[in-house]
């Protein structure tokens, strides 16, 4: 058991994956000599060589498209998109090529590829560096989407994503990169596409992932002080959603609050709310509430504290749900 930051945990997970399978490759901008702008790949080029840790020309479509080719050629590429907001030049490759190859080939050709996406706000960055584009990918059949909230999950989930036979968009909450946590590198990890009840409770279910799990846990603690027993679920998997864990919890609590950074309209919270009301209709004591980024582009970062869901907004929604 070691204590490390999420950056170190990802680095260790990638190192282990590279060591375990010679077919694993990394590619992206600045990931080699620099170790990536967040240092997630630090030291890996020195250790595994430039053929396996590839500094790519500055073109996201090219990075993803050539990685797809390498995947078809028998490799397991892990590409880093430098920031969330720079994934869009690669949209065509991700949506029409990577996500579709299995379908297009009648299931003959699979694409074992990971697209690492440092995402989300709270780091005081300029435009395009604080976004949460998961809904675009979760609306795309053929892609899987996961998000790590802790160093331990980061360590294990990245390795599981790499061994997945399907393309995985791997969301890394930048604001949690430097927070430390325990990582048991000998543990048997839980399955990749399973949500985790990180705090059991019986009054209301709060659902979050990645960077938003922490304020939800904090809200649960405050709420507990007020006698409200909040269950917090870290979704971990956004596509597919782990319906069982979600619906079982809400069926029991009768109340749900979904929390995410992306804008509310057509954010993942919409799908979760839609499913819950479809499948737990009679169990619901209150509408499923959403605590999300507002329906606007990410604001100047000196206003981001107001933009991002936080402990208070989660608590407020919990209260509104309980009072409904």
């Amino acid at each position: 058991m070691a204590t490390m930051t999420m950056v170190k945990a990802l680095n260790a997970g990638l190192r282990r994956a590279l060591a375990a399978d010679p077919k694993v490759l990394l590619a992206g901008e600045d990931i080699g000599n620099l170790g990536g702008v967040f240092r997630v790949t630090e030291g890996l080029k020195a250790e595994f060589g430039g053929d396996r840790v590839i500094d790519s020309p500055l073109a996201e479509s090219g990075i993803v498209g050539t990685a797809l080719g390498m995947a078809l050629g028998g490799y397991r590429p892990v590409v880093e998109i430098q920031f969330d907001g720079f994934v869009f030049p690669a949209t065509n490759q991700i949506l029409t090529q990577v996500a579709r190859m299995y379908h297009r080939s009648h299931g003959r050709v699979n694409v074992p590829m990971v697209i690492r996406l440092p995402y989300g706000g709270g780091i005081g960055a300029v435009e395009h560096h604080s976004e949460s584009p998961e809904a675009y990918f979760a609306h795309t059949p053929g892609l899987k989407v996961v998000a790590a909230a802790t160093p331990s999950d980061a360590y294990w989930m990245i390795q599981q994503a790499i061994t997945s036979p399907d393309p995985v968009v791997f969301m890394e909450p930048k604001r949690r990169y430097h927070e430390k946590g325990e990582v048991d590198t000998e543990a048997i990890p839980m399955p990749l596409h399973q949500a985790k009840v990180v705090k059991p409770g019986k009054d209301v279910t709060v659902l979050a992932w990645g960077g938003m799990v922490r304020p939800c846990l904090e809200a649960a603690i405050v709420a507990a002080g007020e006698g409200k027993d909040v269950e917090v679920i870290d979704l971990r998997t956004i596509s597919p959603l782990d319906d069982d864990t979600i619906l079982t919890s809400v069926a029991r609590t009768g109340r749900a609050v979904v929390v995410h950074e992306a804008m509310g309209t057509l954010g993942v919270g919409a799908e979760i709310a839609a499913r819950i009301q479809e499948r737990c209709f009679y169990a619901l004591q209150a509408p499923v509430l959403r605590v999300t980024g507002y329906d606007m582009p990410y604001p100047p970062n000196r206003a981001e504290a107001d933009y991002l869901p936080d402990l208070d907004r989660v608590l407020d929604a919990v209260d509104r749900s309980l009072a409904f």
Binding site: G65, T66, M70
Partner: protein, 366 residues
């Protein structure tokens, strides 16, 4: 521009069927080999004609004819080794034929009964694909995989391999195509970019995509570009052979611009009379890729009328076969498609499929 271009490109057999000398390129095959190419071109044209007819009869939803591009396709295909990877676009029926792809497999996607129904590894022939220019990047990636496999630039030439990727003149305007040039150049990837400049991207003339000959694009990315008479099967083979050997040797990518003409419609949905005149077509008819080889080989005595009659008979038989193949293609059943989304199918998808099957069955019961 076409006139200037004509002086500019590699030609080894002129439209009248005369062999032409070129300082850098020569055809390495015999006249018998050439007869084999002629046969492939004739059969490609027949396949294309059958498919076009099948579309007219409603058996296919759409068909993109290869008419006029047989030399570019057959010639380049002849240069490709079994271990090379071919990445086609959607019009490379002649390449598929030479490669030995069962052409039936190409029909399903146009019939609407399949997505793309063959394994790309079977013949080292990638899936037909539709997003213009979208497949070039994966071609480069396939080449980068070969590099990492140690299959490029090794001491044993037979153990080396390369990728050849097909696209049109219109595709050169796409960002992805130009990024492919960047990546291939940067990594010295073993890729032959084979552009069939058939003068049109649906209704858009080549001049809209580029004011200068397309092959010159490559120099700006740091690798060679060559324009070849795309209606000359010898020249297409010779230039492609050279480019593939360069690539396999580890000398990096090449852009080949095969200067040819789409003699038919863009697809069976298209009406070319809306945007081009018949004189243009007539001029290109005079440069037909098949006629010149026929003329040459008849003159050489390599083939005779009897040979041509036999070929016609073979062609008829194959035509019949393809027609039967097409109408006999299995109908798709939506129920099969839920487990073709992911290699590891999420549980919810299977439930969705079961619900669908039950729903559909409810009508049958009724």
């Amino acid at each position: 521009m076409a006139a200037a271009a004509d002086e500019d490109f590699v030609q080894l057999l002129d439209p009248a069927g005369n062999r032409v000398e070129h300082p850098d390129f020569s055809y390495s095959g015999s006249d018998t080999d050439l007869a084999a190419s002629l046969r492939d071109m004739v059969l490609t044209r027949r396949f294309d004609a059958e498919a076009t007819a099948l579309q007219r009869k409603g058996e296919l939803g759409l068909w993109p004819p290869s008419l006029g591009q047989e030399a570019a396709q057959v010639g380049s295909a002849k240069a490709i080794a079994d271990t090379d990877r071919i990445v086609p676009s959607y019009r490379e029926h002649g390449v598929a034929w030479v490669r030995g792809v069962d052409l039936k497999a190409l029909l399903g996607v146009f019939r609407g009964s399949a997505m793309v129904d063959y394994h790309p590894d079977d013949k080292n022939f990638n899936l037909y694909t539709w997003v213009i220019g979208g497949h070039l990047l994966l071609s480069v990636g396939l080449g980068m995989a070969m590099q990492r496999d140690g299959r490029v630039g090794g001491p044993d030439p037979d153990a080396n391999s390369a990728v050849i990727t097909y696209f049109g003149d219109g595709a050169t305007s796409q960002g992805d195509v130009n990024e492919s040039f960047v990546f291939a150049s940067s990594f010295g990837a073993p890729v032959v970019f084979f552009c069939q400049n058939n003068q049109w991207a649906i209704s858009e003339p080549i001049a809209l995509q580029s004011k200068i000959p397309l092959y010159r694009r490559a120099a700006g990315f740091g690798f060679p570009g060559v324009r070849v008479d795309g209606n000359d099967v010898l020249a297409c083979e010779a230039v492609t052979r050279w480019a593939l050997e360069r690539a396999r040797r580890g000398d990096g990518p090449t852009l080949i611009e095969a200067y040819t003409y789409r003699m038919g419609a863009h697809t069976t949905s298209d009406d070319p009379t809306k945007y081009r005149g018949s004189d243009e077509l007539d001029a290109w008819r005079a440069k037909d890729p098949i006629e010149r080889v026929k003329a040459y080989l008849l003159r050489q005595g390599t083939i005779d009328q009897r040979w041509l009659d036999d070929l016609a008979a073979e062609s008829d038989a194959l035509g019949e076969q393809w027609r039967a193949d097409c109408v006999g293609l299995p109908e798709p059943d939506l129920a099969q498609w839920w487990d073709r989304v992911y290699a590891e199918t999420p549980h919810a998808l299977l439930t969705q499929r079961d619900d669908f099957v039950a729903y559909r069955a409810s009508f049958e019961e009724a």
